[in-house]
């Protein structure tokens, strides 16, 4: 198992804020909109340097999506910012008609996704957003795994023409990816090469997959770990190549197993290479109040759950 270390913990939303600032410096057409959550989305540095390119829309997410769609007509590249719940479910029809169907260059940037939002509870902890967004024709769906990757992803989507959903989170987590990485939309990152099982992880679950990989190594299991930061378009080639070698797969996501990364992987494998698969994901449930760590544990999204899923799926491999 390749050794991963970290010297600091940071939140992915700060990676977004830093990336947005950089994107704004590089391209004067980058504009930002926010629905009364500037501090939570870490948009302060962009607003400070480019006040005329920032629009505060107030608590009116539907209007924000419509305004963003309209701004693209004048050549702007709008980044909308609010919590993941209010970025997707609340404005699904606005995104569907004014952004996706109209093919507008809007970047829907969503913080506080999943259980790790914590104490605010289930009203704010969306676990369905990946599914909602990946079903929209033409929508790119990205869920980066740490501060550096989120920053790189934010800068990359500014250069991509078309609608994008960028999902990130609230808690501080280890920073373990390369600060100078080049982010390629739709290209998987090989975290660790192995032979016994393929672990496919996205977002906050990537660090947990690394922790699981270390425990599995102690048990004599050589896990291949792949980071799928882009859930759509999926890197079919990387997944198939790995699964051909290992013969089984565990998918890990902070999302409902209905409609998430795991189902995208299962769709690919059932048509191309039927393979035993286990899902580390929430199981058709809402969340609740609690600390992020407590919630990830209670809902089965810890390294230990990945280890158990790996042991189970290896047992299902054909002899």
């Amino acid at each position: 198992m390749k050794k991963y270390t970290y010297t600091e913990k940071k939140d992915t939303r700060s990676g977004f804020g830093a990336g947005l600032h950089e994107a704004g410096k590089k391209n004067e057409n980058v504009v930002a909109l926010c629905a009364d959550l500037v501090g939570s989305l870490k948009m302060d540095s962009f607003i400070k340097d480019f006040p005329e390119r920032f629009t505060q829309v107030g608590i009116a997410e539907a209007n924000m999506i419509g305004i963003a769609a309209g701004m693209t007509i004048g050549g702007k590249i709008p980044f909308t910012g609010t919590f993941a719940n209010f970025s997707t479910g609340r404005v699904y029809d606005q995104i569907r008609q004014s952004v996706a169907y109209s093919n507008k260059n809007v970047k829907i940037c969503a913080s506080h996704a999943g259980l790790t939002l914590g104490e605010d509870g289930a009203t704010h902890q969306i676990l369905e957003d990946i599914g909602l967004m990946k079903m929209l024709p033409g929508m790119v769906v990205i869920n980066p795994c740490d501060y550096n990757q989120t920053k790189a992803a934010t800068m990359a989507i500014a250069e991509y023409e078309g609608p994008v959903y960028l999902r990130f989170g609230r808690p501080v987590i280890p920073v373990f990816t390369d600060p100078d990485q080049k982010f390629e939309i739709g290209k998987a990152w090989m975290v660790n090469e192995g032979t016994d099982v393929t672990i496919i992880a996205t977002g906050h679950m990537v660090w947990k997959a690394i922790e699981a990989g270390e425990k599995l190594a102690e048990l004599g299991i050589d896990a291949e770990i792949i980071n799928i930061h882009t859930i759509k378009p999926l890197d079919d080639e990387a997944i198939l190549k790995s699964v051909k070698k290992t013969g089984c797969v565990v998918t890990c996501e902070e999302h409902n197993k209905f409609g998430g990364l795991g189902e995208s992987v299962a769709r690919l494998l059932t048509t191309e290479l039927p393979t035993p698969q286990e899902f580390v994901a929430t199981n058709d449930t809402f969340g609740e109040s609690g600390t992020p760590d407590q919630l990830m544990s209670k809902y089965g999204l810890d390294a230990v759950n990945i280890v158990e899923a790996v042991q189970k799926v290896i047992g299902r491999k054909k002899a």
Binding site: V31, E52, R53, T55, V57, G58, A60, A62, N63, I65, G66, I67, A68, A69, G70, M71, T72, I73, G74, G75, K76, P78, D93, Q94, R96, Q97, S98, Y101, S102, N103, K104
Partner: protein, 286 residues
């Protein structure tokens, strides 16, 4: 004036003929409010709008128009064709397979003149505000027009947009409401009353004007007047009274013609009331 009022009325007559023929041709679509807005579209595209028919999405230096109540697509398509955005022969494809003239307007099939999809109601005013903000950032002082249905004002997003635009001094925006008082389930006064729209929009900070949307002289003057009000810190709201079905006597004023196509006999009755002025399109699709 680029045209006399008589010339504009003649254009509107042809657009009305196209509307009933298009809706008859596919036995679906929304003739009522399309007919009601024929004078507005004629005034806008042939007299008021500063626009080019060699279409670009950005429309730099041009006035832009957004239709929020997308179901009145027949009137828009006919207007765009007669204004020169595409050949009128394409009107025969309305709502048919492989057409650029979808039931509701869309950018998806790249029809010149359309800048956003609409149909799911309540979204157009926000989009128009966004387009106006982008123009401001680009130092482009041209105008952004939007048309909303009156029933559609029951959608909450309109009021988010209505609150935003005056606060942010989006003052090159001229929105019009097709105030025909009808919606699918009956008169708006019975379904969910709009009450005093003038007071409502004024309370939100809009400069509100009232026009008669079925009087060509009045609507041309009203839209020109609206332009003179721009750039003064407030968005403009044109409350435009119209009659659903205007121009076809048996359709006038009834919500029953919101989304119903005429049969052969009804088509003949309608066409007899609407002089052919610019030549009918060929009913056979190109």
């Amino acid at each position: 004036m680029k045209h006399t009022i008589k010339e504009l009325e003649d254009i509107a007559s042809q657009i009305r003929r196209d509307i009933v023929r298009m809706v008859h041709g596919c036995q679906s679509g929304h003739p009522g409010a399309s007919l009601g807005c024929a004078d507005f579209f004629t005034a806008l595209y042939f007299e008021v709008l500063n626009h080019k028919t060699d279409f670009t999405m950005e429309g730099k230096g041009e006035d832009l128009f957004f239709l929020s109540n997308g179901h009145i697509s027949p009137v828009w398509y006919s207007t765009l064709a007669h204004a020169g955005y595409f050949d009128k022969s394409e009107l025969a494809t309305f709502r048919k397979l492989d057409s650029r003239l979808q039931g509701h307007p869309t950018t998806h099939e790249h029809l010149p003149g359309i800048r956003i999809a609409s149909g799911s109601l309540g979204q157009g005013l926000s989009v128009a505000i966004g387009a106006a903000l982008a123009k401001k950032l680009n130092g482009d002082n041209s105008h952004v027009f939007a048309l909303l249905g009156d029933g559609e004002l029951q959608e909450g997003q309109n009021w988010e947009a209505a609150m935003f635009a005056p606060f942010n001094k989006v003052d090159h925006l001229i929105a019009s409401v097709d105030y025909n008082g009808q919606q699918i389930d009956g008169p708006t006064s019975k379904v969910l009353a709009l009450d005093d729209l003038q007071a409502k929009f004024e309370a939100f900070g809009w400069h509100v004007i009232n026009t008669d949307g079925n009087d060509m002289q009045a609507i041309v003057e009203g839209l020109h007047y609206a332009k003179t009000l721009t750039g003064k810190g407030k968005p403009i709201m044109n409350l435009m009274s119209t009659q659903m079905g205007a121009g076809v006597d048996y359709m006038v004023g009834s919500h029953k013609w919101h989304g119903t196509a005429p049969n052969d006999e009804q088509l003949a009755l309608a066409l007899a009331q609407l002089p052919e002025t610019l030549g009918d399109y060929n009913p056979l699709a190109p």
